[in-house]
């Protein structure tokens, strides 16, 4: 969630009253933003010899692009408080009727095909407004524009350049200009090298760097206005004295380019000499049928059902009452003249987050107050409480292991490739483990295929504990399985580890016997025949196992016969000393690991 820092005094002035921190926090809570911090009583940075005035840091929901700046927060809260109507945004064409134009060249299709824009005439900046204007672009770039990949904004002092403008795509070598706040002219390639290490801009270079052509906006005198999405030209930069602002927005995403345009012009047109007026521009882009006049700031008309809203909120409001509540949330709504259950809702250009009448319904609930809604208790259900079968089985095994004196541990599911394979003297055949593409550390390379790494790491971290250590876990591992939709499957395992001055081999063996007995599986051996097998659901036996994980001659595989089917469900044994060394364990360890799904 983006956090917006606003000047406390200025915001309270805009809201027409002082608030205590608690009061303002309450207002935020009701509206659905969050007061993160009030810096009044904190040490604040000193900028240019002056201490920063107290700030309010407000967390904005990720879909409220209209509240990413001071102007938007003040506007929406004022509307919510009933202190201000929704502004009537107007497009005003220039007196001569000639719209400013951006002509789009087809080559832009190769790199960044879309452009939009607008002009704010006779705007009056001051320091705070100017900073807010820059900050809003920054926030939009970070959030909706996904770090400038989808959309990027350039703003220019229109009086320094001359339309019509062209949006082109040229080889980097052919683009020469002085970037913003620089003194030296450079071409596209030089510019990439120049900004490579730049803390701020370096991270955007990748968006176009390897493209054979770079997007560029020229004015009619071939002055470079900007090289989107990296940087504007120095020539047309805006200052506190700028009167007329050209906004150009380039993009990959058709929907988001217009949302960004609407956000900027609705927020800052209030500072134009005639507030809330915007001068449209014409985009000429025949090759992709994108010739049009922008921006479109007309409210979007939608319909909402009175019955739906009332039903979801548990209210019985009259259509007029709903319309009144919607006004607080910046809508213009009227009961439909043709259908008594329908409201005609005009969604302002600022509310890009409204997609469905569910969004309108939520705003009715917010305006009414979530905490004032009549409360009820949903008492009808067609389900009967029951556990997932595998979890019920898991609990049987957990309870038996704990009752037998073992302690349950909960290590992580992700581990390193070595921990899962090499350190256990196991080989990766490439068809077993699910491997991660983008882990931040080596600790998280694969999804475990065995519970042993977690148990052994737990012992390693608990060497201060008295020996013997007896721990167990019943949890999932995952395997690759190309036959399935998700190409992988989980498997519920039970594993236990003994760590002590003696090997504990028989102790672990005894735990196996105990758990099997509790699962009604009878032990059978060649010599002794069946052990109580008439009462049993299944039989199990063990066979000597030769695996490098274990000490030679001291390991066994565990076999079961269930419903006539024979399965190997796991193994146990004394761990090989090289495994102990890998896990930095100084005493012998015996482990047991079983797949318990056979008992489902």
């Amino acid at each position: 969630m983006p956090t917006i820092s606003v000047d406390k005094a200025a915001l309270f002035e805009a809201l027409g009253r002082e608030y205590t921190t608690e009061e303002f926090d309450e207002l935020c809570f009701e509206f659905g933003v969050e007061l993160d911090e009030d810096t009044t009583n904190q040490e604040r940075p000193i900028v240019n010899g002056k201490q920063e005035p107290p700030q309010l840091k407000i967390e904005i929901p990720a879909n409220r692009y209209d509240m990413l700046c001071f102007e938007g927060i003040a506007l929406m809260l004022n509307i919510f408080l009933g202190r201000q109507p929704v502004p009537n945004y107007k497009l005003v064409e220039p007196a001569n009727g000639q719209l400013e134009t951006i002509i789009v060249k087809e080559d832009t299709m190769k790199v960044r095909p879309l452009v939009s824009g607008a002009i704010l005439r006779n705007i009056k900046f001051d320091q705070a407004r100017y900073e807010s204007f820059i900050a809003l672009q920054d926030k939009l770039h970070q959030n909706l524009a996904r770090q400038r990949t989808l959309v990027s904004i350039g703003t220019h002092d229109l009086d320094t350049i001359q339309g019509p403008f062209t949006y082109e795509a040229l080889p980097p070598k052919d683009i020469k200009f002085t970037p913003l706040n620089q003194t030296k002219e450079m071409d596209g390639e030089e510019l990439m090298n120049f900004y490579e290490k730049d803390k701020h801009l370096g991270k955007y270079l990748h968006i176009i760097r390897d493209s054979p052509v770079y997007p560029v906006i020229y004015d009619s005198k071939r002055t470079v206005c900007s090289l989107p999405p990296i940087i504007n030209g120095d020539h047309s930069k805006i200052t506190l004295d700028t009167k007329n602002v050209l906004i150009e927005i380039t993009a990959l995403d058709k929907t988001k380019v217009e949302i960004v345009n609407r956000m900027i012009v609705t927020m800052f047109s209030q500072y134009c000499s005639e507030p809330f007026t915007i001068e449209p521009i014409k985009i000429v882009s025949e090759h992709n049928n994108e010739t049009r006049v922008v921006p479109d700031i007309s409210p979007r008309k939608a319909e909402a059902e009175v019955s739906y809203i009332n039903q979801c909120c548990g209210l019985e409001l009259k259509p007029e009452e709903i319309c009144k509540l919607l006004k607080k949330m910046a809508y213009d709504a009227k009961p439909s003249t043709t259908n008594p259950d329908i409201l005609d809702v005009y969604i302002p250009a600022t509310r890009a987050d409204v997609l469905h009448q569910a969004d309108i319904m939520e705003d009715v609930a917010i305006a009414y107050g979530f905490n004032s809604l009549p409360r009820s208790f949903p008492s009808k259900s067609g389900t009967i409480a029951q556990p997932l079968p595998i979890n019920k089985l898991t609990d049987i095994v957990r309870v038996e292991a704990a009752m037998a004196g073992w302690s349950e541990v909960l290590p992580l599911i992700l581990c390193s490739h070595d921990e899962n394979f090499g350190w256990l003297n196991r080989k990766d055949d490439g068809n077993t483990a699910v491997k991660l593409a983008n882990p931040k550390t080596q600790e998280f390379q694969v999804v475990r295929t065995s519970l042993l790494p977690g148990l052994l790491k737990t012992i390693r971290e608990n060497k201060h504990h008295a020996v013997p250590i007896k721990i167990f876990e019943v949890s999932d591992v995952a395997f690759k399985d190309l036959s399935l939709e998700r190409k992988s499957r989980n498997e519920r395992h039970f594993a236990a580890a003994w760590y002590g001055k003696t090997s504990g081999f028989e102790v672990v063996h005894g735990l196996l016997d105990r758990v099997m007995a509790m699962l009604k599986s009878a032990f059978i051996t060649g010599e002794e025949g069946l052990d109580n097998s008439a009462m049993s659901d299944s039989q199990y036996w063990i066979e000597e196992l030769d695996e490098p994980t274990y000490f030679p001659g001291h390991a066994a595989s565990v076999h079961v016969r269930i419903a006539g089917k024979e399965l190997v469900i796991g193994s146990f044994g004394i761990l090989h000393p090289t495994v102990l060394e890998n896990y930095e364990l100084k005493y012998p360890v015996s482990t047991l690991e079983l797949n318990i799904e056979a008992f489902l």
Partner: protein
């Protein structure tokens, strides 16, 4: 037992019913030894005793020496007197010792017992009274110093120190007997068999000590809390969802939940993507006889409240409808209006939430839509930088209620009951944003211990854009809410670092000593 005084004490008391003083009866026995025996006897009510504490004056080794052999000055005097023709000053240390000569010579002069005659010392009298020795002998005998001034002087001269002495005033107890009966340490099978228990005296139990430590297995604290939550869900009629799939597709984890493909949650910075295996298949029916299916989800079982016949789920239609609702809008939604990429939906991820499981289950429910309650508690994965409050893995608790005509007030009312079961009785709800719920509410609970409101969960009604592509009827509403298992556990146990609660770095002693969880109690 060498220090066992029980017999001696019982004997000493036998003469009369009068009390005795240990300092008089057994002056040479250390008081600790006497006390041990007295305690044994007193615990059996054979004696009663009071502890007496007093200070006594005791001679230091130097004091003892003077009491025996006389003071330094007396020794000097005797040496001088013995030398009939006077004693050479230089010879004195050789006769009485260096120390005596040094201190004694001066004092003997002061007392006027000897005088100096050139380099000779001569006695001025035949007899002397060695007052220091007399005094010390008195002290030795009475263990007191007659007056305070003398005491100060003797202490200064390091001849006498004061010592605390404990002694006991001992009397017969109600169960006094001359003989101390042999005691058995425990009731044994042999005693039962022989009948000796009838006459046996059992050693009294020490009720002030802990019992023998009992070897115990234990559950992990987090799983204990998990079990409490499961119980709450079961008490409220919920069925557990199959969460045994760590690997999900972008489709089930995001797209089906109406999370747009450019949403930040889908960034490499936030989600673990799978390198191997490479790519998923589009959604399709589960393999037959999957043992993990929960019962009511199986088409053969019809719920009692269900009246409508079960539909066959069309996965292709579902896929297409999800695409459409993102790309161009459907079901009354204008959609996100971007080109939806099938490959992105087929990327494999580690599930970032168990809501992917809820989605899977709700899609199954759409085959026969009816009121239903589901829950799950299982591990989820986020590609986060690890710190005190973040791990790449944690547990999500998720609840889902589907019904016709559910209201937002019903969700609030339900949360009040749900959280009251874990001891949280004051809730408030804040509007929030979540791509797959609308309305979305953050749940805040008043924490008495912390004295403030803390966020305890997220909740909402699933969006029509998520439900209607599944085939859930338009007028059926579905609540969803979730919280992490770790956060309430950390608040409850005052654990500040999540790594002390989950993972291999957790202290086994913490696991073993962690008390039972009773969420409703505290």
């Amino acid at each position: 037992m060498a220090s066992d005084m029980t017999k001696t004490i019982l004997d000493a008391l036998s003469a009369s019913d009068a009390s005795i003083l240990s300092s008089e009866a057994f002056p040479s026995v250390p008081s600790l030894n006497i006390k041990a025996s007295l305690d044994r006897l007193a615990s059996r009510q054979m004696v009663e005793y009071d502890t007496l504490e007093k200070e006594i004056a005791v001679l230091t080794p130097e004091g003892e020496e003077i009491a025996t052999n006389g003071s330094h000055e007396a020794k000097v005097f005797q040496a001088v007197l013995a030398a009939l023709d006077g004693l050479k000053i230089g010879d004195l240390p050789g006769i009485v010792g260096k120390e005596n000569a040094k201190v004694g010579q001066g004092n003997a002069f002061k007392k006027g017992w000897i005088k100096k005659d050139k380099d000779l010392l001569r006695a001025t009298t035949e007899t002397i009274v060695d007052e220091t020795r007399e005094l010390l002998l008195t002290v030795q005998k009475t263990q007191t110093v007659p007056d305070a001034k003398a005491l100060t002087d003797l202490k200064r001269r390091k001849l006498v120190t004061l010592q605390k002495v404990i002694s006991f005033k001992i009397a017969k107890g109600p169960k006094y007997a001359r003989e101390f009966v042999k005691e058995e340490t425990d009731l044994t099978a042999e005693m039962l068999m022989s009948g000796s228990w009838k006459t046996a005296h059992l050693k009294p139990y020490n009720f002030k000590a802990k019992g023998a430590p009992t070897p115990a297995g234990t559950f992990h604290p987090l799983n204990k809390v998990r079990q409490e939550f499961r119980n709450i869900f079961f008490e409220m009629g919920f069925e557990e969802m199959p969460t045994n799939r760590f690997v999900e597709t972008g489709f089930w984890n995001f797209d089906a939940l109406f999370v747009p493909q450019q949403h930040p949650a889908r960034d490499l910075q936030d989600t673990f993507y799978i390198a191997d295996p490479v790519k998923a298949d589009p959604p399709r029916e589960d393999p037959p006889n999957d043992p993990h299916q929960i019962k009511t989800l199986q088409p053969t079982t019809t719920s009692s409240s269900s009246t409508s016949p079960t539909k066959t789920l069309d996965y292709k239609q579902y896929w297409d409808d999800v695409r459409q609702v993102h790309e161009s809008g459907k079901y009354g939604s204008i959609g996100y209006r971007y080109p939806w990429d099938a490959d992105e939906a087929l990327r494999l991820v580690l599930r970032t939430h168990t809501t992917s499981v809820s989605t899977y289950v709700l899609h199954k429910l759409a085959a026969n839509p009816r009121p239903a309650r589901y829950f799950s508690i299982d591990r989820v994965f986020r590609n986060e930088a690890v710190d005190a409050t973040h791990l790449a893995e944690f547990h999500q608790i998720e609840g889902v209620i589907a019904d016709y005509g559910l209201t937002l007030g019903g969700l609030i009312g339900f949360m009040e009951v749900f959280f009251a079961k874990m001891g949280i009785h004051q809730l408030r709800f804040k509007p929030a944003y979540n791509p797959y719920t609308e309305p979305s509410m953050e749940i805040f609970g008043y924490h008495n211990g912390l004295g403030k409101w803390v966020e305890i969960g997220n909740s909402g009604m699933f969006r029509p854009e998520m439900l209607e592509p599944m085939g859930i009827p338009k007028d059926m509403r579905v609540y969803g809410w979730g919280l992490s298992l770790e956060r309430p556990t950390m608040i409850k146990y005052g654990v500040s670092n999540i790594r002390e609660l989950l993972g291999h770095k957790v202290d086994l002693n913490f696991i073993e000593s962690n008390p039972a969880v009773r969420l409703e109690k505290d």
